[in-house]
Symmetry: D2
Subunit: 161 residues, 4 copies
């Protein structure tokens, strides 16, 4: 059984027709798993639905606590890309003996042109095979939590040497 | 560097507007990698573009030979689902010391509702972490080549015990 | 109130995952109207769900009879493109005093790249403004029933002089 | 020949991956016409690329002037929905003897779930058949410029009696 925690991020942004702006509604994860015809055994829980730039220390503690306390040893977390590395670091400090893969998207899933489904496929597969630790999986690559940073100018996750 | 070999299958079926039927054109792989904003280092080569029910022994030999002779040790093969297991067996007999992941789709990528991007994300990630061997990655799960079969009635890849 | 009659055609073809071929299921019309956020007042009825190459004289009679007998004076018919002109001629002979617009698609709606939604927008608008008669609306143009033919080689509906 | 003037609006909003917000890039009109396999004879010109809430009196004068001066007598204008009615009124005052249809979208075209293609099909068809005047075509209905308003709470264009 794989645990999926939803925290929001670009992944789950949607378009508010009335106000003409991006917003958060329900998570698209179940729809994405259906599209991927996923046969992986998963349990989904939405912890929060926020832009990762607005994520507070208390939010991160809640994520860490949920990862500590859940029964599953394989955990995928969907997360905004801007502070994904910070949350990964908090998880590395606070959770032991579990494989945790954070993933997200550069383009909202609700947009036809999203990378979300590709990244979700990666994350769900990696969490089944990587040894315990905290990882970030984005755009066909994955990194250990302390060997990656997001390049704010290009939007790309890069290896830190 | 990851080698991607294209062989056709549902993955790459497209719709012929004039004749009103499914057909094969160019592979959608480059477009899919662009959609996934893939940063994985890949080299793509189309070996054939056929329905896997029409794949002959000579076709399978060509696939095996290409996997033997290419420089890369990580290989993803897109393949029709109907005979994916047979090709996996041929590869297991003929190729040593490489990690080979076969993947495909239940629905053509050109259809909006395809599982192809999800499966491609899985395959590209798994090929980077699995130890040498031949695997099938479909719909959130992966199997060693001799521990899987396709259930023709449900369309689902299942573990063989 | 606009009456919409469904007869099948490329419009409504879908992909059978198990058998790997095109087939017909339920019509996509309600989903398309939802996507178009259509506020037009419509009543939908599926008369048949077939490839128009397989449409018989009896099928055409059924379509004509339904157009005669329904209360609405504005009728949109979704139809395969191959024999759309023949059905239009049958309607012109059999139905008087109503505006009937036939439309279809070159690519199934279930494919992401379909022209179906564009054509449906055209047909639903034209039926509200054209004077009684039988018309074909495809790909940004419309024709009276006896001034059009489908060019089988290019797939394009052309004016007949 | 139909003239299409682009002014921006939700229709053409796109997602800025780096900054994580909605923005304007190039118009999607040519891509939409390609998707609709449109055979209508059109000439496209981008006048501006803005949110219609930010449209000034000078912007509206530019739109009116372009409609007066172009050779075509059939004009489609893509426009944000929030002030579409105001621009329609300016056109009615300033342009005579031409058929002008304004259209837009509730959801950006770049989102998979957009009504844009449906509305574009409507507008392109209506402009070919309506008598000279200024009209708004949205979501399966169309209105004369002085008989419509946008309900800001529901997002729906409604008839004004």
């Amino acid at each position: 059984m794989i645990r999926i925690f939803i925290t929001g991020g670009t992944f789950d942004k949607t378009y508010d027709e009335i106000r003409g702006q991006l917003t958060f509604g329900d998570t698209h994860l179940p729809e994405m798993l259906r599209l991927g015809r996923s046969r992986a055994d998963v349990a989904i829980r939405t912890l929060m639905m926020i832009d990762s730039l607005e994520m507070t220390g208390a939010d991160r503690e809640a994520i860490v606590r949920n990862c500590q306390q859940c029964d599953e040893r394989c955990i995928v977390i969907t997360h905004g890309t801007d502070t994904m590395v910070e949350t990964a670091a908090a998880l590395a400090r606070g959770v032991a003996g579990k494989t945790i893969v954070l993933t997200g998207a550069m383009i909202p899933y609700a947009f036809g042109s999203s990378d979300g489904l590709f990244n979700l496929g990666s994350a769900l597969s990696l969490v089944q095979v990587l040894k315990p630790g905290v990882y970030i999986a984005m755009n066909g690559r994955h990194f250990e939590w302390d060997k990656v940073r997001k390049n704010r100018e290009t939007g790309v996750f890069e290896a830190v040497i």
